[in-house]
Amino acid sequence: MNLQGDKLFAALLALAALASALAVVYARHEGRKLFIELQALQQVRDDMDVEWGQLQLEQSTWATHSRIDPIAREKLEMSVPAPDAIQIIKQP
């Protein structure tokens, strides 16, 4: 081995070490960025879940029978047909 070759090899290794160090920094940074994005998306998902629950609750509250029954009877003047006004049809 000549001295020249050794020096070149050492320089190459030093460069490779530097490049790898920079790559680690980059990957780490990228990882954190992606993680923060993931967190944000999970937050969005949770918020949507919450909203879905609230909408379900709201729908259920509007649809409660103690509210619909008086509206149908008094406001819309609906009534259950009397038995003698119902024609029962048997499917042949």
Binding site: Q54, L57, H65, Q91
Partner: protein, 589 residues
């Protein structure tokens, strides 16, 4: 010689210097070992504690739905306002604004904080809605922060309150289904360890400590529509008859599923008030003597003994019978009547004679077989067992009173379960608040012939001349039994405090539904089961049969020609499948 080498003159000096240097070096080495080996764990933990944080991952409680998937209880996040009292104490000027916004008494708040000054966490107000929470944060009071919690809402309010139950401030089940299925419904919060930056943002997930498990959904056997119907009719009846309380239970005859269970008075589960007695689910916790509603089971025992047939004649004259030192009375003298008429007219003497003619064991076998004296297996919290003493303890008087329903006590749910045995041919199914997909083969506690004979006798109760004519449902054949029971007061049975009962099923030829109506202490002119409870039964049953699309078994011929007007076609000549599909949705042209 005056000049000498100093080194040779003072060798001790050199030794001292070297020794000091060596000691310093050794101290450093020892300190390094101390830090890196002996205290390594402690120091690392302390370091991590400065940037690692454990974050809770909340999990919500499962939703409760009715049998059709309609939500009955939903957990939704709300904000709780909390504070660090020490920080908040520095901002006394902000307290009035804070207490005004949160509707708190400001002197009360000051006292509350003064007491807890050495703590780092106190709740200021729990579970407020998100809009208000945002306004609280806008005040920017130091030391005040929000915490997310879950709160349970019940869209149907008091209609479902007794069956669904409630949770406490920490969302743990306290009553009814919420309590019975707490483990199933409860969400288990998780936790993860994270690295936070200086601004409190999470920069890295280090490890997941426990995965959050949200609560599971629970589907009940209840039908929200029938429940409302039962609630409405019971409420109307209680007001009309000035009664103290009441219950209605609607049960699917073939499976034991509870379709509706209503009690009044009730409470609103969305507010945390309501007295202890209003919170009780009377239909499963309150015992009453079944009175005449037990007579079908006395007759069942008589029929199964082989000594009686439905047309066996019994002499009930003169309307008074002495048993031991007690007398059994009928309202009228019915004379010689057959077994079916004993049921139809509700004759106490007829029932007593049958009970005394058969063996104690036969009567006990039927009574305990259909479920009197034992919980229904619904596993509802606080369910009462009822009382039925063992037959070896019966004296003659007790055999007589048992025959017409005194000396035995039951719940409304138990009575419904017992009538379901008659309705489905002698099979007893445990009562269930959850849907039953493949009904297991029930316990045979009565021969199917006996059950069939009872069904036709009970149908006569609602026919002309029976005690339950007001229980009739147009279009259907209905069977059932009335009951009017004296309540037990301080000194024996009270003369004028009653429980009005009706228990029955429909359609009579192939029963699908069993309904029990209990009206406690009607205060008006009317107090008989046939006057007070039977009309409620009729209206609830009519609505439930229609809602469940159960075909009428005694259809009424239509008298109105509505078909022409509404649909624009003559339904008498057109079969339903040939109708264009938009006929139903669109208006007739």
């Amino acid at each position: 010689m005056t000049t000498t080498a100093p080194f040779t003159l003072h060798p001790a000096r050199r030794i001292v210097v070297f020794a000091l240097l060596a000691l310093a070096g050794l101290t450093l080495v020892w300190r390094a070992v101390d830090l890196h080996v002996v205290h390594k764990e402690f120091l690392r933990d302390q370091g991590e504690a400065r940037y690692l944080r454990v974050v809770a991952l909340p999990a919500h409680r499962g939703i409760i739905t009715d049998r059709n998937g309609e939500p009955l209880a939903v957990s939704t996040p709300v904000e709780s306002v909390w504070a660090n009292p020490r920080e908040l104490a520095t901002a006394q000027a902000d307290w009035p604004r804070l207490s005004a916004l949160l509707d708190l008494d400001s002197t009360g708040l000051a006292a509350y904080l003064a007491e807890r000054l050495e703590r780092e966490f106190v709740y200021i107000k729990r579970r407020i809605d998100p809009d208000l929470a945002a306004r609280v944060m806008a005040l920017n009071v130091p030391g005040v922060a929000l915490m997310r919690e879950y709160r349970r809402y019940y869209p149907d309010g008091e209609i479902m309150a007794h069956v669904v139950g409630i949770t406490n401030v920490d969302d743990i089940g306290q009553e009814a289904i919420e309590l019975a299925y707490d483990d199933w419904l409860r969400g288990v919060p998780g936790a993860k360890r994270v690295i936070k930056d200086r601004l409190g943002r999470i920069v890295e997930d280090v490890e997941s400590l426990s995965i959050p498990r949200p609560g599971r959904e629970l589907r009940l056997s209840l039908d929200r529509r029938i429940q409302y119907l039962a609630y409405r009719e019971l409420k109307t009846a209680l007001l009309q008859h000035k009664a103290r309380s009441g219950s209605v239970v609607v049960m699917e005859a073939g499976t034991g599923e509870v379709l509706a269970m209503v009690n009044l008075p009730a409470y609103n589960p969305n507010r945390s008030n309501g007295s202890r007695s209003d919170k009780r689910n009377r239909a499963v916790t309150d015992l009453f003597e079944p009175g005449s509603t037990i007579k079908p089971f006395t007759v069942a025992a008589a029929l199964e003994s082989g000594l009686y047939q439905p047309d066996t004649m019994i002499d009930t004259a003169p309307g008074l019978l002495r048993v031991g030192n007690k007398s059994v009375r009928d309202i009228h003298d019915y004379g010689r009547i057959d077994v079916a008429t004993v049921i139809q007219k509700s004759s106490n003497i007829g029932a007593t004679k049958m009970a005394l003619a058969i063996s104690r064991e036969q009567l006990w076998r039927i009574f305990s077989g259909v479920g009197f004296g034992a919980a229904t297996g619904s596993s509802f919290p606080g369910e009462a067992d009822g009382v039925l003493t063992y037959h070896t303890h019966w004296r003659e008087v007790e055999r007589a009173t048992l025959a017409f329903g005194y000396g035995v006590s039951t719940t409304a749910l138990q009575l419904a379960s017992a009538y379901a045995v008659i309705a489905n041919g002698g099979q007893l199914h445990p009562a269930s608040f959850l849907p039953v997909k493949n009904p297991p083969h029930g316990n045979t506690v009565m021969q199917s012939d006996t059950a069939a004979a009872l069904r036709s006798m009970l149908e006569r109760v609602t026919n002309e001349g029976g005690t339950g004519t007001q229980a009739r449902v147009t279009g259907y054949r209905v069977g059932g039994k009335t009951g009017t029971v004296h309540k037990v007061g301080a000194r024996g049975y009270d003369k004028n405090r009653y429980v009005a009962l009706f228990a029955g099923f429909a359609p009579a030829h192939h029963p699908r539904l069993v309904t029990v109506v209990v009206i406690n202490e009607p205060g008006g002119e009317q107090y008989y089961g046939g006057q007070v409870a039977a009309p409620v039964f009729s209206r609830v049953m009519a609505g439930a049969l229609r809602l469940l699309n159960i075909a009428p078994d005694a259809p009424v011929a239509p008298t109105q020609q509505l078909a022409h007007n509404v649909l624009g076609t003559d339904l008498h000549q057109t079969s339903i499948i040939n109708l264009p599909s938009d006929t139903y949705t669109g208006d007739a042209e």
